[in-house]
Subunit: 279 residues, 2 copies
Amino acid sequence: MKLKRSERLIDMTQRLLDNPHTLISLTTFTDLYQSAKSSISEDIAIIKRTFEIQGIGIVNTLPGAAGGVIFTPKIKKEQALEAAQKICDQMNDSTRLLPGGYIYLSDLLGKPDVLHHLGKMIASAYEDQKVDVIMTVATKGVPIAQTVANYLNVPFVIVRRDSKITEGATVSINYVSGSSSRVEKMELSKRTLPSGSNVLIVDDFLKAGGTINGMRSLIKEFDSHAVGAVVFCESGVSGHQLQDYSSIIRITEINTENQHIKAELGNFFETHTFLEETH
Amino acid sequence: MKLKRSERLIDMTQRLLDNPHTLISLTTFTDLYQSAKSSISEDIAIIKRTFEIQGIGIVNTLPGAAGGVIFTPKIKKEQALEAAQKICDQMNDSTRLLPGGYIYLSDLLGKPDVLHHLGKMIASAYEDQKVDVIMTVATKGVPIAQTVANYLNVPFVIVRRDSKITEGATVSINYVSGSSSRVEKMELSKRTLPSGSNVLIVDDFLKAGGTINGMRSLIKEFDSHAVGAVVFCESGVSGHQLQDYSSIIRITEINTENQHIKAELGNFFETHTFLEETH
């Protein structure tokens, strides 16, 4: 059906947002809207400019017969900082403190807006790194893996600590759980991760770093490569030795006696790049 | 900053898509774009028409000082059927068969496009039912809960079969696992679900119905109400007695001897309404 420019812009915006990191050929649009290539190219130029000004992401056009348009979600540093600060404010709440210095996070990791922001900022930081798959460990890492996978448009895989019959053949490794210093087991379904994959690790909470080191070992067993590791919340008081990771939020004080908790922004914002200001 | 109509349409489309089921006041837009209310109203009318024609959803405007605009994702039945059929085709794959008549689904539930489609169709079916929260059970139900929660813009909660220190105080119930006829336990963090909530249950696989009945009991313990139950995949060969549920996909044949599996569309598409054809 023939659409007007205004209608095309709306529909194209929706299709690009819905299919990040996906090459859409110009022919797809000329066929869909029964419009000339020149009109579609002008539409794309308008969308490209608006997406950059508004901090939605980058729109790239590839020329030639195999060409088309690709949308890459990428936010500005100020947007990322503002969203992270809002999450941080919700963390500074002493009722989150649980026995043993653990912190209640399940409410935040079940909120669509928090997950949108986390997904956008993490995907934004890794958009140019050729990530093939997101890895996390069950259960609370799953929402973070899913939202990052969504914005990078790659699949995610879930490592489990318990065996499930529904996973088929698995590869398992033993790792030292840093917080309890016990040897534990984690496993991943053999068919979920092709060898040679570039894997981005995400998790909800970093205490001693054992789980992330475990996932790194598991990635090696699959002849794959860890591109990076991002955690939602890091305990800055547990004294872990983990290298090469970044955290969105960092807990700098936990006092279970007077029920005090203090959260700050993590090192994520120092170690990654964001959408450049264009004006 | 003052934007042109074309730029406003792009940015408004993105904001509406990013904030479903959220009232955005016209003043938000007039302030953002430094444009007159009449221009913004015309913009909204164009977006409303395009969203309906393209099967993106419904845009409603509420008049008055407390008024504004609300976007509700809602897809056409033909879009839902097409997406479900594509998923169904991927299910008809004998390598998914696992010992004991279980079926490997983890790859599908880790794919962003599959999850988009599932989220849109389930949210579309329940958009008018005042759902307050989505409930699922760890681990493989989580991706489905998250995508539905995303399109309905409500939080989701994860019921667990194992105790975790990071959940704080929990409420637990015992239930009969239908497939093994054993009494098992499931629990939910006390603070995640306010009493009086309207809860939509989702899960990945329905075999004997024990888990869903368990979640219904748990919802009662929280003085809340189950609005409905949707499963991604139902085993039509296990002879369960579950009532009041719907399934996206239904397995009608499993033969582990000659490695044969047959999947069809479930009853979801008979029991729910979709976006009406407008032309």
